[in-house]
């Protein structure tokens, strides 16, 4: 009995795989609609003017960002945790009835939370803070979901057989702690339902409404400390956790350097939080904070590139696998986009560059080369790697995966190149003066000029969505009709059908 390999239990991982795909489709579809609304404003009334309140750009925009962050990405993080966690800690969830129950409860409450978020954002119930739009009742639900995940993480660690924590576990722990701290402090708010008028009346006004604990500049400071680092601990840290597990597994290669992973991890932890100030350059926060934000953003290149280079060098001597396997392609291009994005960000954080880039589409472009190229590619690669192992079936189609890869890569390239041009064009036009020192352009001139780039961006986003639907189809077919495989076929490279 002792020598029998562990049977891992993927029940919860499977559930989160499902929500990764569903919320991914929803979030990206809304993104494509938004993109075309900017190019063709008629799309704002796509379901008729009667429903315009619910289909116009401003109402949909938070739905897009939150569906992609808290839906697609977080689901992906949870799905991979419930897969990777068991395997690197050498313990099965089936061994603990308690952890199994917590895992399932985590999923159920997560679904309820997602439904509440969708409903409230459509209704326009929002605090306006980016990626923290939820009012206090939903905030409480999110905290409960997060604590449940924390119990899952530390519970599994508590009953582990492998005593030494693998690199991926470091990053999952950091994700849990980072988001917990940031979310709690940024969402400090006082419900207005507690108010009592001098006449003694209570309980009037919307029960869910609240007012921020911080005002003005302080509020901005806390919000961008959160906003920037929600990116760190949602879009970087857990995705690095994934690639540290899935790339060595799929390629059969050992991590290039343990020391480099140490340096990158502790460097990233220490440096990332300082960089939030780069969202507030030339604002009313004190100058020294803005400068700190700039400087630490540049320093951040070091740990970011440390991880990315560690990944690329892991493929040393095995580069033929990049040509042979579309799954490896996703991960290698993902880390390349990670390098690209973590160089672009610090450039935008330099004060003189920020003066042009801030408030423009270049920032939007930056977010998307990171999220589409790095986060999206890595999560899809992780799910592709997991699918044969959790469903005990071969991936349905390798050629479909390869086609998807090229379509999405083209989509990402169209997206960020068009947004570069749009952003820099607009930034330069805003500041242009004529020979007499008057503004050279009215604001609307700087909007109409963007039409071609907005159109190209819409096409790029659409290509990415098409690729994502191919991914969803491929996974669905894998689950239902993929050839059944034996455990022995699941050592490294994932089995794929033609």
């Amino acid at each position: 009995m002792e020598n029998r390999p562990l049977e891992y239990d993927y029940t919860v991982a499977k559930l989160f795989m499902l929500t990764t795909i569903l919320t991914g489709i929803v979030g990206m579809l809304i993104g494509v609609i938004l993109a075309f609304q900017l190019a063709f404003p008629e799309v704002n009334t796509i379901l008729g003017s009667g429903l315009a309140e619910y289909t116009n750009f401003s109402r949909l925009r938070p739905l897009h960002t939150d569906a992609v962050i808290f839906g697609f990405t977080l689901s992906g993080v949870f799905a991979t945790w419930y897969y990777v966690g068991q395997r690197v800690l050498k313990v099965s969830m089936a061994e603990s009835g308690f952890l199994m129950f917590i895992g399932k409860l985590h999923f159920v409450l997560y679904i309820i939370g997602v439904a509440a978020v969708i409903f409230s954002l459509f209704a326009g119930v929002t605090t306006s803070k980016e990626y923290a739009e939820f009012e206090w009742p939903i905030d409480i639900a999110i905290v409960v979901v997060w604590v449940l995940w924390g119990i899952s993480v530390f519970g599994l660690i508590g009953i582990r057989r492998e005593k030494s924590l693998y690199i991926s576990i470091w990053y999952y722990i950091a994700t849990f702690l980072g988001i917990a701290m940031l979310y709690l402090f940024n969402n400090m708010e006082i419900p207005t339902m507690l108010a009592a008028s001098p006449a003694g009346e209570t309980g009037f006004g919307a029960w869910y409404h609240s007012v921020s604990m911080y005002a003005g500049t302080n509020d901005a400071l806390v919000q961008w400390w959160y906003g920037h680092n929600a990116v760190a601990f949602g879009f970087t840290v857990p995705i690095v956790a994934m690639i540290y597990y899935f790339l060595p597994k799929e390629s059969g290669q050992a991590i290039y350097s343990y020391k480099l992973s140490l340096l990158s991890f502790w460097g990233l932890m220490f440096v990332y939080l300082w960089a939030g100030g780069h969202h507030l350059i030339y604002s009313t926060v004190p100058d020294w904070m803005q400068t700190m934000g700039s400087v630490f953003s540049i320093v951040l290149i070091l740990p970011s590139w440390g991880s990315a280079i560690n990944m690329l060098l892991t493929m040393k001597g095995e580069w033929q696998q990049v040509a042979a396997s579309p799954l490896i392609k996703f991960m290698v291009l993902g880390s390349t986009f990670y390098m690209f994005s973590t160089l672009e960000g610090p450039i935008q954080a330099i004060k003189s560059v920020n003066a042009i880039a801030h408030f423009t589409d270049w920032i939007v472009g930056h977010v998307h080369d990171g999220v589409l190229g790095w986060v999206g590619f890595m999560i899809m690669a992780a799910l592709y790697h997991m699918a044969p192992r959790v469903f005990k079936r071969e991936i349905y189609s390798k050629s479909l995966m390869a086609t998807q890869f090229w379509i999405q890569t083209l989509g990402v390239v169209l997206y960020f190149t068009s947004m570069w041009i749009a952003g820099i064009t607009q930034g330069m036009m805003w500041r242009a003066h004529d020979e007499f020192g008057n503004l050279a352009y009215s604001f609307i001139d700087t909007v109409t000029v963007l039409h071609p780039y907005y159109t190209i961006r819409g096409v790029g986003g659409l290509l990415y969505l098409v690729g994502f639907l191919m991914f969803a189809y491929n996974i669905y077919k894998t689950m239902t009709v993929g050839r059944k495989v034996e455990e022995s076929e699941l050592q490294n490279a994932s089995p794929m059908g033609a």
């Binding site: 803070k129 950091a174 409404h209 911080y214 604002s283 009313t284 904070m289």
Partner: protein, 230 residues
């Protein structure tokens, strides 16, 4: 040390937490008291203005419009004096935005009128040819939530000492009092009084009729808020 940490998850987590919490403590805490002090001439929002601010937030206007004028000639030429920290002392939440798909609105009250906003919100390209902003026709029908605005006024007056019903110094040496109702009915009456002034400058008959009947459409509250941004 690192090998040891990797075998002791609790101490590992403590180490990570210290590493990440450090920056926040040093960057955010020292500035808190100073940045929250209002500059002279900054007044709290009236009930109607606050209700309008809620309409602004409900429709995520901040997704496309900033309220932050940076200290560059091109920005002060276009939008007016650059922003001062104390001007935001009563902004909960702050509404700086992160993207200017449309122009900055920090001082829009200085150069746009009620009439301009009415036409613009109904059909933006009719006022600004080439505009990609959608129309916000439902704001002419939806009724603004005055009670919630009043509840928020009471909350900030109680918890953050926002000076309602108190003399606030103005730039010209005079003082101004922003009134807050003593009861829900009183607050609604104050808001309606303000709404009547706005509605008098508007053309939409449904809006005028609603205000005459004691109801305040969202557009009226929003315009009151826009006009207050100076």
């Amino acid at each position: 040390m690192f090998h040891w940490l990797e075998k002791h998850p609790f101490f590992f987590a403590v180490g990570v937490f210290i590493a990440i919490a450090f920056a926040g403590l040093i960057e955010i805490v020292p500035n808190f008291a100073q940045a929250s002090r209002p500059v002279i001439g900054t007044t709290p929002y009236s009930t109607l203005e606050l209700a309008g601010r809620h309409v602004y937030i409900k429709n995520s206007c901040n997704a496309c419009h900033s309220q932050l004028i940076r200290p560059f000639k091109s920005e002060t030429d276009r939008y007016g004096h650059y922003s001062l920290s104390g001007e935001y002392a009563y902004d909960r939440p702050f509404l700086w935005g992160s993207k200017r798909t449309g122009p900055d609105l920090m001082r829009v009250g200085n150069y746009r009128t009620t009439d301009w906003h009415e036409n613009h919100m109904k059909n933006p390209p009719s006022v600004v040819p080439g505009s990609i902003m959608p129309a916000y026709t439902w704001m002419f029908k939806n009724i603004a939530d005055i009670n919630t605005a009043y509840a928020e006024q009471l909350t900030v007056a109680q918890f953050f000492a926002v000076p309602y019903n108190k003399e606030v110094p103005m730039r010209d040496g005079t003082t101004k009092i922003v009134k807050m109702g003593a009861s829900v009915a009183d607050a609604n009456a104050l808001a309606l009084e303000e709404a009547k002034v706005i509605a008098a400058d508007m053309k939409d008959q449904d809006v005028k009729d609603a205000v005459a009947n004691g109801q305040i459409p969202e557009i009226v509250a929003l315009i009151a808020y826009m006009n207050s941004l100076k």
